[in-house]
Subunit: 338 residues, 2 copies
Amino acid sequence: MERLTLKDVAKLAGVAPSTVSFVLNGKGKQMRIRDEVAQKIMQVAEKSGYEPHRMAVNLRTGQSKTLGLIVESISGSFFASLAKTIETEAERNGYNVVYCSTENNAQKGAELIKMLGRQMVDGYLITPAPGMEKGVQQLVQNQRPLVLMDSYFPGIKAPYVLTNNYDGVQQGIRQLVKKGLTKIAFVTVDLDLIQLTERQRGYVNTLKENKIAVKKKYILQLKYHRQQSDSLRELRSFLEENPELEAIFFATNYLGIIGLEAISQLGLKMPDDLAVMCFDDHDIFRLYPPGISVIEQPIDNIARTAIDMLMQQLDKGKGPLKKFAVELPGRMILRGST
Amino acid sequence: MERLTLKDVAKLAGVAPSTVSFVLNGKGKQMRIRDEVAQKIMQVAEKSGYEPHRMAVNLRTGQSKTLGLIVESISGSFFASLAKTIETEAERNGYNVVYCSTENNAQKGAELIKMLGRQMVDGYLITPAPGMEKGVQQLVQNQRPLVLMDSYFPGIKAPYVLTNNYDGVQQGIRQLVKKGLTKIAFVTVDLDLIQLTERQRGYVNTLKENKIAVKKKYILQLKYHRQQSDSLRELRSFLEENPELEAIFFATNYLGIIGLEAISQLGLKMPDDLAVMCFDDHDIFRLYPPGISVIEQPIDNIARTAIDMLMQQLDKGKGPLKKFAVELPGRMILRGST
DNA sequence: TACCTGTGCTAAATCGATTTTTCAAATTAA
DNA sequence: TTAATTTGAAAAATCGATTTAGCACAGGTA
């Protein structure tokens, strides 16, 4: 059960290794190999079950045909939705994917990028997190194929594709306002990421647009580096201190889930005591009674677009990217909570 | 920004490439390289930031230092819990991991195994699903390092590690019985997988052990290849047709989640109208009021054990596996639903 | 007849490492 | 003093492919 090599196939077909290589790589015509010989080679390769040795090909061609996908958490729902599409799309293009997660460890982000470099991935798909600026910056400088997803670093000229966060929140807040609600809280987290500031901007401006005063005390910024139980407690206090609140908008599904727990613990009924809306859908929001309204991110579309943009960069001939920054609209899904 | 090669380092240090290789691979003593020279080489390598070319190393050594992890669904909760541990444990051993999912496509399972073979993974971690028998059989025959997780194929002599399914269900049913419940339903799915039959065996035997009659009509076997909405409907009918039921045990979390929807639609209150317990925990079960009691699988432990067993196989010298089949106990988590 | 030209393929170089072999110089043994 | 051994490192082979250069041979041309 020894591995079959190109040489073996050549011997079986009675030709030189190079001839086999030409034929199997579709360069038979170009190298003026007779159809007769080409046929024979194809046949032998087929029936012997020959598979080229990936590492050898990689070494010679300098291409690993592998993409690196870096996400924050491999067990998060964003990754779960993303990975499948990324994988199938990559495969369609003849690439496979290695996944890495920073697991909320700022330092690890930088290491990962080096790690992937050492492993020779041909391109990077990255969801930016704090601490990865330098690494990303370096990739850009070295002109490595790269697409950021879900966020980007202002000031670093890397292609990105993400949800139109501002517009998404606007859709949501407008809906709440349309229902006659004006006392609307916004819960976010103290991370310096563009998608969060955009979401907050959406909240603030949409309130203004509707002539609703923006109260600072209605904006709760939870600490990211905290036990979940602490955040839960803080959220509960926030709700208790502002009993007049009619609605609450969570900037991420992670926050929304904590929110559900807090709301449940306080015995509040949705939507009558409190209307709830959340950015980014999650299985739980579909099931949790009475169903939580959300702004759904077009994750599938993000994945496909990202792969497209990456493939464009990998096709050396194609020149610079047509679209550098892509923003895709989110979709509001209304459920019982509003 | 050209890649630094071993040769470059050799030139910089004023020695031959082979010498550099020996030193950097810790074979300096063995090859009697003078400490002085070794020091110099180390220094040059360090400060030049040299990183060996993975593909070249792989080609020469025949080891890719990569493991293949095949799961049913990359967006499932089982994978989510598994992946992180697998990845960190693998990394600790100097391996990285490529993930693949069969996405419930029986045929794809077989292809995947070939695909990974072509990519030259050094070992396989597989959660068996229908349709993969042949592929796994082949790996065993070719003596490829392999560990099955979560299930196994009776008749195929491959190492595996999984939850003690029988015992887990037993814990759960005993708890229900202790609460004085006797009319207990068991919902499973029509897949021919050992973990499901084991769970069912646990249900049947534990009832018998408590002198409770096992009624066939209390066992519902849903069709796997069905729309979720169809399963939901069937489950609803089942509950309506057996209104006397006091408790229901779901064999998988996937089933349990559908169950929650059915129970909610019928307006049943847990645990008074119906006590609910489910095999395999899930985020939703923690949050969904009043909290769903579950038998939690020791996924972390499964992952660690699996990697251990795989590493043992990869250490050629070590001989055959000490433990071939490992069963780890599940843990019952009681919540409001019972 | 001698000289190109095109055809059809083979030989050899290459990718970047590891590993085996070789070899001069220093040391020891006879 | 000469042969045998040890030391320290370089040279060369190798992994399995791709790719460039080269080489017979047939046919056409001057």
